[in-house]
Assembly symmetry: C2
Amino acid sequence: MVGPTSYFDPARTGELDPRTADLVRRRDAALGPAYRLFYREPLEFVRGSGAHLFTADGEDYLDAYNNVPCVGHAHPRVVAAIAEQAARLNTHTRYLSEPTVAYAERLLATMPASIGHVMFTCTGSEANDLALRIARAATGGTGVLVTEYAYHGVTSEVAAFSPSLVGPDAVAPWVRMIPSPRPGIDFAEGVRAGLASLEADGLTPAALVVDTIFASDGCYPDVPGFADAVAAVRSAGGIFVADEVQPGFGRLGDGMWGFARHGLEPDLVTMGKPMGNGHPVAGLAGRPEHIAAFAEQSRYFNTFGGNTVSIAAAQAVLDVIQDEGLIDNAHRVGARLRDAIAGFGSERVAEVRGAGLFIGVDLVDADGHPDEPFTLDVVNALRERRVLLAASGPDNASLKIRPPLVFDDADADRLLEQLSAVLRNPRARL
Amino acid sequence: MVGPTSYFDPARTGELDPRTADLVRRRDAALGPAYRLFYREPLEFVRGSGAHLFTADGEDYLDAYNNVPCVGHAHPRVVAAIAEQAARLNTHTRYLSEPTVAYAERLLATMPASIGHVMFTCTGSEANDLALRIARAATGGTGVLVTEYAYHGVTSEVAAFSPSLVGPDAVAPWVRMIPSPRPGIDFAEGVRAGLASLEADGLTPAALVVDTIFASDGCYPDVPGFADAVAAVRSAGGIFVADEVQPGFGRLGDGMWGFARHGLEPDLVTMGKPMGNGHPVAGLAGRPEHIAAFAEQSRYFNTFGGNTVSIAAAQAVLDVIQDEGLIDNAHRVGARLRDAIAGFGSERVAEVRGAGLFIGVDLVDADGHPDEPFTLDVVNALRERRVLLAASGPDNASLKIRPPLVFDDADADRLLEQLSAVLRNPRARL
C-alpha cells in the first residue's frame, strides 16, 4: 500500500483538541480503518466559496488543492441548477430527457469527430471500469498498460490496474506497468516493452490507459514518445483510453482536454471529478464502433448515471467554465504560479512542472535527493498558515498544486507569500 | 444478453410522433446503442411529485415502478436539504464532517450489533464491487455464489456475477449460480451444490451475495433453507452479503432491511437506490474484522462517496421515512394491493407474491404457462392508461410493482382499477 500524501495518524488522536479528538474517535468507530484524514491535524470545514474553505470559527483557508469544485466551492449557478432541477424531477435514462441528450451533444462538440457517443456514470472509477469493459469487448484483448504509479479508481478491476493504490505487487496478471515519463524516458519504449511482455505471456492488449497529466506519477505535461506509444498499442490491437478525470474540463489551461495538448486522438475518454463541481456525475465518450461492440454483449444502465439533476449540474459547470473564462484563467494564473515558484530561487525546489492549474513542485534535500519529510513538513506548515495543498509523486516529495479554476491573482499572491515563507523554514511556527 | 422488461425497439422510431422521433434519433446518436428506453412508445417526463410523474402537457402518470424516489418524487424536505447543503459546502471524507459521522451512526443503529462500520460509495454497483473486495480480503477466497437470475450491478466484476445482465454463459469462472427459490426449491441445497462445484474446481468461496427480495429472480419474500444456506457458506469459509439495494430502507414494510425478515445476520450489507431519493449516494455496512482485513490491503477513498451534500440528502430521506410512517404505509398499502390483485379472480394471474411495496404478479396463458407477450401487452396497455410498472422475472412474465413508498390509498385505487381493466383485455385501446 502506497501513501501518496500526508495523512493523519490515528495513534495521535489524543494530541488533538478535545472536540476534534472526540469527532475523530467517533469517525474511526463508524467508518472504520480504511478511511484517511488529511494532515497531522485534521481539518473540519463548514462552508466554501470560490477558492476558499471556512471553519466553524470563520477561519478562511485558501484551497490550492481541490480539483472537484472546479468553478469554485458552492458556485451559485451550479447550486441553483441542482436545486431547481431537484425540485422539478430527478429521474433516469430509461425515460426520454431532452436536456440529457443536449448535454451529451455539447460534450461531444468538444471532442474529435471520431468520438461519437457519451455514456454516463456517477464516478470516475465507474467510468474507467466501463472503459475497460468496452475496450475488452471492442478488442477481444484483456491486457492493460498503465504507468508505474497510475491511479485510475477503486472498483475491483480498476484498482487492479492502479499500482499507486494497491502497490505494484498487487496489480492483476493482465497489467503491465510502464515507466513514468520522467526526463530521459522514452514513453513509447516502455509501452513497447509492456506489449512484448503481454505477448510473451500469451496475452493480447485491450488498452493503454493514461491520465494525460500523469498526476500520480508526479505531473508530466510534455511526454516524448506519447504518440508513438499510442500507435504501438493500436498496432498490437489495443485502444487508447485518455483518463481525463483529473486533467479534463479545462484544468490544463489549453482547451478542454489533456489529450489534445499531446496532439492525440483517443479512442475512449473518461471523465469525472470536476464534471458536476462535486455533484456525483461522471462518464465516458468513445468511438461508435467500440461502443457498438460492447452493446452487442450487454445493455447499459446506471441507475443514477445521467439522471436529470446530475445533468443540470454538469450543464451549469460548462456554462460557468465558458462564461467566466476559466480555461484562460487557468492558463494565466497557472503560468504565473509556476514562474513565481521557479523564481523563488530556493535550493529546495528542484523542478516546477505543470500546465494550467495542475502544478507539481519537486522538493529535494541539500544533496538534491527527493525529500519526503521536508515535503510533508511544507504541506503541514502551509495547513497551519491556512493554505491547502498536498504531497504527491512517486517519492511523495512533490507538492501538488491543483486549485479550483477560479483561483485568482489575490489567491495566487497569498499562496506564493506563504509558500515562499514555508520553503525557507517549514518547521517555524507562525 | 437477457431483456428483463419491455424496451422500445429503435427500428420503430419512425412510427412515433415527429417530436419524439426526433429526440429518440438525437439520443441514439449521442448515447449510442447500449442504452434502452422503456415501453413501445417512450415517455418523457418534466416534473414529479409524490407517486406521480407529469409530461410537458401536464398529463399525470401514476408511478408504480420507481423505487429510487422512495419518499416521493421531488420531496420538498430532501430537495431543501440538498439545496441548503450544496449552497454551504460540498466536500469529501478526507476532511472531518460531523454530519457524515452522525449519519453513519444512525445507519448502524438500524443494523445488528455485529455490523460496526459504514463505507460510502455513489452507486449500488460500487457498493457491491467494494463488498467483493472486502469479502475476498476477509476470506482469502475468490468464489461468489448468486442466484441464477441475479442482478447486482454494472462494474466489470459485479457484471461478471450478474447473470441477468450478461447472460448465464458470460459469468466469471469463479461464479456459481444457485436455482431461484421457487416453490419446491430448497435454497440451501442449491448453495451446497454451488460450494461443492467451487471446491471441485479448486476454488474457495468469498461470498454468497443475495438480493433479499430476489427481485430479478421474480420476487420471493419467503425462502425455505435461506438460514441453512448462509450457514453452509460460512462453514466453507465464505461470508454472506445481503444486497439491500432494492429491498432496503423499508420497502418491504417490515423494518428497514430485507435480511431481518429472513431472520438473518449478514456479514456485509450493501445499499443504494432509495438511499438519497435519487441523489447518487450508496454504501455498505459490515463487520469490523472484515473491513480491517480489507484496510490492511488498501486504503479507501471515493471522491464523491459520503460527500456533505449526499449525506444531507440521505439524512433527509431517513427523516421522512420515519416522520411520515412510510414503512407502515408500505406494509399496509402493499398488503392491500396483493389481496386485491389476488381477489380479481383473473385466470391470467397465477400468483401474487411480495412484501410491502415490492410485488410480483405472475401472468400465464390459458394453459397456465408463463405468458411473456401477454405481460408485455399489459405493461404497455397500462402505460397508455398512465400507470407505470414493468415486466420482470426469469420468463419476463411477472409484473413488477414497486412504487415510491408514499403510494397511498387513492394511488392504489387507481392502479387496481386500471390493472383490473387491462388484465381483462390488454389490447383494447382506451
